[in-house]
Amino acid sequence: MGLALSVIVSGIAFGLLIGMLAFILVFLYKTTGVANFAVGNIGMFETFIVYELWKDGMGLWPAAGIGLVCSAVFGVLVYQVVLRPFGGGQANTLVRTVALFLLLAAMADVFFGRDQPYHFPSVLPGGGTKVGGVLLRWSDLITVGIVLVIVTGFVAMFRYTRTGLQFLAVAQRPETARLLGVRAQRLSTIAYMLAGCLALLIGLLLAPKQLLFSQMMNPILLFAFAAAVVGGFTSLAGTFVGGIIIGVATDLVSTYWGSDLTLASALAIMLLTLAVRPNGLFGTAQVRRL
């Protein structure tokens, strides 16, 4: 029982990371109209940059700071160079993100050597505390804290700033938002800036746990897709709920049944949710016209 509870707690922490990646996916989908397959690898690549800086003797925190700035710039480049020019249709843009996914993995392999995976220094303290027989790791608790701070930040942005309000407007009715003078491309650029930074954060929290290598984000990207679908692909809040569901379920499955079934169980949860509620737990039906 104690083991199960510990697994659940660490599952929640991992679930919130999944939820954060899912949040980026949905946020980008709602503001730019495209679900970006490359988001995970963007975070992976940025984490490599921080790692290289650290290896060259820089402190971890300054390296992370520089990494954050790079991430913002990187996000802007992704949008302006890869996604925006010669706007194709939805399918074309999707393939662009997939190509970017491949490109970033290949770039990491070429630029950052073939001795992968690397051990990444932990940003967070080790150890933990026992509460009622359940082990709570500091790293998990801090992860939960960080995600909560970020969520609060986003909620505040959506509620109290003009840009935040415009994000919501574009997400709900892109055409009407343009009629109200909202410069959608500027917003998309900002969205990608934020997405770049969040992706780095996920990479920094994930790399110490599961080593740093070019394919490190593939599983969590899949979990994030599952979380986004479970939460309803249009609901920003739903992504975190979906993330926790996927995080806890896959943690339990891999502990008790074996790790080769974790992905399969996430896929099963996603398909089951769709069978019962085609628009996810919090999604709204999309009206189709003839």
Partner: protein, 626 residues
């Protein structure tokens, strides 16, 4: 980028296959031939993926799952069950097709994005399962599985020219199968499904089944590709079949050009030669080059290489043959892709609009047909989430009459047609020719003689006008796709009947013969509306439902549509038509029903209804009167 589904790629396909067959004469190096072999193996599966995306409008980012199934089943039944290699390959292909059909039917309900994510997921799950311990007895787990040598006489099919031509035969087979599929009834139906699922359903297509059949075909050729890959590598390990490979395969199709069959082959050859030619130093460097080129192509030429070649050939031909018409048959299929923007209007100017009758004359007084009604609606009601779209509509349409429905926006006109054709569930009764058809699905109502058109014609742009009508002429979509592809006499007879019915419909509408073989994408809006009506007529209906056949047309074209409807009426078909254009209604309608706020305001002869004060108020507005 997913809009094309080309029809005339037979000759380019033959040419490319021929070139590949002759390539070993020029490409003699062992490693260079090896590159072509890998390219052709990818192409075997890429062609199937093109059928899936380009011709049936579905997605797969996990197609290497079926490569894996083909390869592993083939290798495993040889190792564990000691099968000879021919049945082993057949087993691999069939297993891949079967699994693709099962998984496809699970994913069919997911739309564009869901299927992209779902299949991507599947690719990752498959690798986990193959390398995991659960299936390791069959797959060898992460240790891999040796492929037993395949020989004919003393020759090993795993090396040299024998390998090359074995793979070439597999590719030729895959291309031939996929090309054939696009020509038969199932492939035609899939293209309508891609264009618009609701329209396809109304034409009698079983949407779900057509999608699953396309999945199975794509899975089968991917399985064949997997078997070839097994021959080539000689040893199967899970990471040969990862999600990266699936994504590369999709990228190859996108870069080669979807909806062209030839494009993906071109894409595969282009990539493997380019990547290996420039970056033989390291695997990751070639990966880098590969993804850079994919990105560059999808950003800069988002229609793909085939389109680029097509345009180039067309320009060359135009340069060489000044004065010679470009669309001369010798110009080949490349000439077909005339960009609608530039040549469209010119082509239109050269051809007379169909059956133009500009003079508007009032409808001669004609007795309203008597006798039992063909269509009887009783108390039809529809709610959209609490909003009453139709509130108890009664309507009777006599056999042989043209009955118009008019009314303001949002009055429920299209919803009423949807109820009659069976797309929209409703309360009340729909009675056709004395039989209650309320409980019957769309396809059965179609078989009973109800056909319809849509506000937006939804024709398949890459099929000709005549082919679009033929799709409507299919009495049934039942039957095995394999038998269809075999071209048995029964099938041929069935298709001949469809062709004759299509011709009859086109002739009935007086559609100019010179425009019959023009791609629907190049027709004017007026012509498209005619073809939509012909497609509905080709099923030889008793009752034809027309949804705004005049919307978006100019005066002349409206006159032409009116002429066409008069022809339909003379042929004895009953017509129920929604229209906004009052002059048009005056000309064609025997009777007229006015809908307002989901109810029948009044019904009677066109002349009476259109002078009714209440009706004038509905159209011109009485809200401001006070």
């Amino acid at each position: 980028m997913l809009t094309r589904a080309r029809d005339d790629v037979g000759r380019p396909a033959l040419l490319l296959l021929l070139l590949l067959a002759l390539a070993p004469l020029v490409v003699t190096g062992v490693s260079d031939q090896g590159i072509l072999v890998v390219a052709m193996i990818y192409a075997v599966g890429a062609v199937g993926l093109d059928v899936l995306t380009g011709y049936s409008g579905q997605f797969s980012f996990g197609q290497f799952v079926y490569f894996a199934i083909g390869a592993y089943v083939m290798a495993a039944v040889r190792v564990h069950a000691h099968w000879p290699w021919v049945p082993a390959i057949i087993a691999g292909v069939l297993a891949a097709a079967l699994v693709a059909a099962v998984i496809g039917s699970l994913f069919v309900r997911l739309r564009f994005f869901g299927s992209a994510v779902g299949t991507f997921f599947l690719g990752a799950v498959a690798v986990d399962l193959i390398s995991g311990s659960r299936l390791s007895h069959w797959t060898g787990g992460s240790n891999g599985l040796a492929v037993l040598p395949v020989t004919i006489g003393d020759h090993s099919l795993s090396e040299g020219d024998w390998l090359y031509y074995t793979v070439w035969i597999a590719l030729a087979l895959s291309v031939a199968l996929c090309l054939r599929y696009t020509k038969v009834r199932a492939g035609m139906a899939a293209r309508v499904v891609k264009e618009n699922e609701v329209v396809a359903a109304v034409l009698g297509v079983r949407v779900f089944r057509e999608k699953v059949r396309a999945q199975a075909l794509a899975g089968a050729v991917a399985g064949l590709g997997g078997c070839m890959l097994a021959l080539d590598v000689g040893y199967l390990s899970p990471d040969t079949f990862g999600i990266s490979q699936s994504i590369e395969l999709f990228a190859i199709v996108a870069v080669g050009g979807t909806g062209s069959i030839v494009g993906p082959v071109l894409g595969a050859v282009f990539f493997f030669s380019l990547v290996n030619g420039f970056a033989s130093t390291s695997a990751s460097a070639s990966q880098l080059l590969f993804s850079l080129v994919v990105l560059a192509v999808v950003v800069l030429f988002n229609r793909g290489l085939y389109d680029l070649v097509e345009q180039g050939v067309r320009k060359l031909l135009a340069l060489r043959g000044k004065g010679v018409p470009v669309a001369e048959p010798a110009a080949g299929p490349e000439a077909q892709a005339a960009p609608a923007a530039s040549s469209g209007p010119a082509a239109v100017a050269g051809h007379p609009a169909p059956a133009v009758r500009t003079e508007v004359r009032p409808r001669e007084a004609r007795p309203v047909p008597q006798g039992p009604p063909l269509l009887l609606l009783e108390d039809i009601g529809v709610d959209f989430g609490g909003v009453r779209a139709l509130g108890g509509v009664d309507l009777s349409v006599a056999r042989g009459e043209v009955h118009a429905i008019i009314g303001p926006n949002g009055a429920g006109k299209t919803t009423l047609l949807n109820c009659i054709s069976g797309i929209q569930p409703a309360t009340g009764r729909v009675v056709l020719d004395g039989d209650d058809v309320t409980a019957l699905p769309v396809s059965v109502r179609r078989a009973r003689g109800i056909s319809r058109t849509f506000q937006h014609p939804s024709l398949v742009a890459d099929l000709t006008a005549r082919q679009n009508v033929e799709v409507g002429a299919y009495a049934t979509h039942d039957g095995s796709v394999l038998l269809e592809m075999a071209g048995l006499p029964v099938t041929r007879k069935r298709d001949r009947v469809a062709r004759e019915r299509a011709l009859a419909a086109l002739e009935l509408l007086d559609f100019p013969k010179s425009r019959w073989d023009v791609h629907a994408g190049e027709l004017t809006m007026g012509e498209q509306k005619h073809i939509d009506i012909a497609r509905a007529l080709a099923n030889e209906p008793e009752l034809l439902l027309l949804d705004e056949p005049t919307a978006g047309l100019g005066e002349e074209e409206i006159g032409a549509v009116a002429g066409a409807i008069e022809g339909v009426r003379r042929a004895g078909v009953t017509v129920l038509v929604i229209a906004h254009h009052v002059g048009f209604v005056r000309r064609i309608a025997d009777r007229c029903t006015v809908l307002d706020f989901g109810r029948v305001l009044t019904s009677g002869t066109a002349a009476d209804v259109l002078t009714d004060d209440q009706v004038v108020d509905v159209f011109v507005g009485a809200g401001g009167k006070s």
